[in-house]
Symmetry: D2
Subunit: 251 residues, 4 copies
C-alpha cells in the first residue's frame, strides 16, 4: 500500500505498532510479529534490563523490526526521563514511547507528570511518543510541547474495552497536526478498524494479540483490520440515514 505512516520524518509501511508484553514465550511472539507485518515494536526497558540484554531485542533485530523503547512502569517524570536516557544509551535510539502511569489499577497516565516528562525529553533531543488519556486538551498540550505524535487510549490498558469515547478521539484528530496513534484498549479487530476510521494514523496494541487464544491469527486479524480501517477512512464512506434507501436505480 502506497500510503506510508510518517512520524518525525520517518516512513513506515505498516500502520500497526506492536507491543511485546504478555507473550507466553519468544516463539509465539515471533510468529505473531511476523503475522502482524509490523515495522515498529515497543520494548519495556525495565524488562530488558532485568533479563540481561533481552531475547526480545535479538528477535526484533533478526526480524528487521525497529525497537521502540518505552518507559512502562514509571510513575514520575523523573523516573521516566531517567529510563528514557538509559534506553537511548542501551538501544542507540532517541525515540521513546513515553509512559508515566498514575497507579496499578487503572494504568492511566498521570497528566501532569506526563506533560512534564514530555517537555524535558523534547528539550533533550528525544523523539517523544506519549501514551496519553483521551483528553483533547492534554493531547494538544503534548503536541505544543513538541511531541512527534500523540497516542491516546481507547480504554485502559489490558481491558479490551475498545474505544470507549469515539467523540474524544475525533476531537483529538480534528485539532492535531501530528499523527494520532490509538494506544491501549483494543480488544478485537473491529476496534482497530474503528480507530483508523475515526482518523487515527496508526494503532498500537499488545495483549489483544499476545493474550489471544491464537496470537498469530489475531495478529493477522489486526493487520487486516488496520488496513481495512485506513482504506475505509480514505475511501469516503456513505452518510448515515434515518430512513432506508434502495440501491436502485443504478446501472
Amino acid at each position: 500500500m502506497d500510503d506510508p505512516l510518517t512520524i518525525a520524518g520517518r516512513e513506515f509501511g505498516s500502520r500497526l505498532i506492536m507491543g511485546t508484553g504478555g507473550a507466553s514465550n519468544l516463539a509465539v511472539l515471533e510468529r505473531a510479529l511476523i503475522a502482524s507485518g509490523t515495522e515498529l515494536t515497543t520494548v519495556a526497558i525495565r524488562r530488558v534490563d532485568a533479563s540481561g540484554g533481552g531475547g526480545v531485542l535479538d528477535l526484533l533485530r533478526r526480524l528487521g523490526i525497529e525497537p521502540l523503547p518505552n518507559t512502562a512502569g514509571c510513575r514520575t517524570a523523573a523516573e521516566a526521563v531517567l529510563t528514557a536516557r538509559l534506553a537511548r544509551e542501551a538501544l542507540g535510539t532517541n525515540w521513546i514511547k513515553l509512559e508515566v502511569v498514575a497507579d496499578e489499577r487503572t494504568l492511566l497516565p498521570d497528566p501532569v507528570e506526563l506533560l512534564d516528562a514530555a517537555r524535558q525529553l523534547v528539550d533533550d533531543g528525544f523523539v517523544v511518543l506519549p501514551y496519553t488519556n483521551d483528553d483533547p486538551v492534554l493531547a494538544l498540550r503534548l503536541e505544543e510541547a513538541g511531541c512527534a505524535a500523540v497516542m491516546p487510549l481507547g480504554s485502559p490498558i489490558g481491558t479490551g474495552l475498545g474505544i470507549r469515547n469515539p467523540h474524544n478521539i475525533e476531537l483529538i484528530v480534528a485539532r492535531s497536526s501530528v499523527p494520532v496513534v490509538l494506544d491501549a484498549g483494543v480488544g478485537t479487530a473491529s476496534d482497530a478498524a474503528l480507530a483508523m476510521e475515526l482518523g487515527c494514523s496508526a494503532v498500537l496494541l499488545a495483549t489483544a494479540v499476545t493474550r489471544a487464544e491464537d496470537p498469530e491469527r489475531m495478529a493477522a486479524a489486526m493487520r487486516a483490520a488496520v488496513d481495512a480501517g485506513r482504506l475505509a477512512r480514505t475511501a469516503g464512506r456513505i452518510p448515515k440515514r434515518f430512513w432506508a434507501q434502495a440501491s436502485s436505480p443504478g446501472i
Copy 2:
C-alpha cells in the same frame, strides 16, 4: 485462507458477497468487484429484465463471479415466487436471494410474506437465501422452512447505520445451524468486521461500496474487514475487564 464459506454444499473462498445496486457505471462496478475479491454477487432480476439481458451479467461472467439473482422490489410472496422462477429460467440457477419488502421507506422485510415465499420456493427446489430482519424467531422459522442460510440485516437498507442490535445477531448465531450472513446496513469497514466477530459466516453489502466516494478502495476495505473479523472471531479474543491489566509480567 483455508477457511471456506459453505452454503448448500458449495464452497466459496471469499466471505464477502457483493450487490451491484447503486454503482454509477459498469467500469466502476468492475473495479470494485475485482477489489472486493467476491465470488458471489447479487443481481436484481427486475433490473436485468428491464435492461434487456444485462451488462451486469456479462460482467460477472467475464470476472468469473457467480451471479445470485434476487427478488428486489417484490412486495408479496406471489410476486417473489414468480420472480424467482423467472430468474431460474433466465440464469440457469436454482439459487435465489429472497427479498419481500413491506414498503419503500424502510425496505424492511414483511415477515409473513417472506416466510410464505421461502416455504414455496424450498418446496419448488430452490436454494433459498432470505433477507430477513434481525428477529431471532423469524430466523429460526426460515431455517426450519429449509432455507440454506439466513441473512439478517444490521440496519435498514442503505442507511449505513451498521449493526444496530448486536445482541440479536448473537442470538441468531447461537441458535442457527445454517450460515448467518449479515445483509444490509453496513456503512464502513468496522461494521463488516464486527459482523464477523459476532459469528456471522459472511457479509453481504452493496451501496456501502458502490456509493462510497471511491468504490474500488472501499471494496478493498470491506474485503480486508471481513478477513479481519473472521480471523479475530476464530483467534479467540481477550476477555473484557473493568480494571486495567499490565501486559507484564511476560517474557
Copy 3:
C-alpha cells in the same frame, strides 16, 4: 400531570403499566404497586387459574388498579385466543395483553402466530394490546389488524438489557397512529426514561421492579423515570452538537 395516556378511548393518569410476575410475595407486590402509581397492571391468566382465583386480583381490586389479563405462556394463536376468552369471562374485561411466544430461551414473540391471534381477537371484539418484537413492519401490521396499541420490546423479557435498538423504536413511533408502549427489557430507570424520550406513550415492566433488591424503591424510581422521560420529550430537548457551546451570553 394533565397529560393522560389514552388507549381505546380510555384515559389513565399514569403512563407506567406494571406486571405482577416475579414478586416474592403479595405484601412486597402491594407496596411496589402503590409506589409505582400504576393504574393498569397485567395478570397472567394461567397463573390466576392455577391459584384458584387469585390473591393478585383481590389485591388489584383493593388498590383500585385495573387488571389487564395477559396470555403469558401461550405458544400458538389458538392457545392465546382460548386464553383470552377465558380471561374475558373470568375478569369481565375485553382488554387483553396478547403474548404468543416462540420458545422459552428467548421468550420472543412468534410473529406469524401473534398476528394471526391479534386478527382473531379483534374480530371477536377484544381490545388487543400485543407484545411484539421491535420490527417496525410487524408493528404496522398489528395496527392495521385493529390493535389498540403496539407494545414492542426493548430487549428480551427479563434480560434487563434496556432498549437495544432505539432506531427501531423511533421508526415504530414515527409511523404509528396508536399508542406505542415499551414492553420488556427495562432494567433500570434510565431505560424507562429513554423509552419515553423516543416517543413511547407508556412503559410496561415487571421484573425490573419485582426482582430488584428493593422493589418498592425501584417502583418509585420507575414512576419518576416515566414522568421524567415524558416531560423531556414534550419539553423539546436541545440539539446534539459536535463542538462545545458556552451557556453565555445569556442574561
Copy 4:
C-alpha cells in the same frame, strides 16, 4: 426524600444543581429554577460584574436558592484564583465552582491549570468544586488536593451528548471518597438518570434546561430524572442477562 446530598458538611435536599447560563430572560429562569427544585445554583462571577450587581443574584435570594459562584471564562490558574477571591468578597461565600477551560471550541478543562488553581484555592480556605474532564486520575488528584467534590463532565459543555464514557464515570465513583457530581453534557432526562445510576451524587446542568423549547417543563423533567436515577441506584437493579427469563414462577 430523606437522602440528602452532603458536600463539605452541608446538606441539600435536592441533588440537582442548576446553572443560570443560556436563559432568555429572568422570568423564564425563575420558573425553571422553581420547577427544578434546586437548592444550589451556579452564577458566573464575570457576568455578575458586568451586569452591575446582578438580577440573577436577586432572583436566587428571593427563591431561597444558595448561589454558587463559578469562574467561567477563566483560562489560567491565576485568573481563576483572582475571580474566586472577587466572588468571595462579592457574595460572602467561600464556596467556588472552579472552571479553568483551555479553549473556546471544546470548553474542556486545562488539567494542569485546573489542578494548580484547586491547590491554591484550597490553601486559601475555599470549598472547591472543580469542573473536570472524566479522567479518573485527575479526579483523584483533585480530591487529594482537598477539593470538596469532583465534577466530571459527561461530554463537552453545551453539546447535549450525554455521558460519552460511562466507564470513566464508574472508575471515578469507585475510587472517590468525596461526592462525584456529573457536570456538563446532559441533554435530556435519561442522561441525568444514568449519571445517578452510575453512582454520581448529584447532577449539574444549565443549557439542557435553559435552552430547551420549554425550560420550565425540562426543569421538571430533570428533577424527576435525578430522583429516578438516585432511587434506582439505591434500589439495586436486576442483573443483565444474555437469555430471557420468565417473570413466573412468582406468586
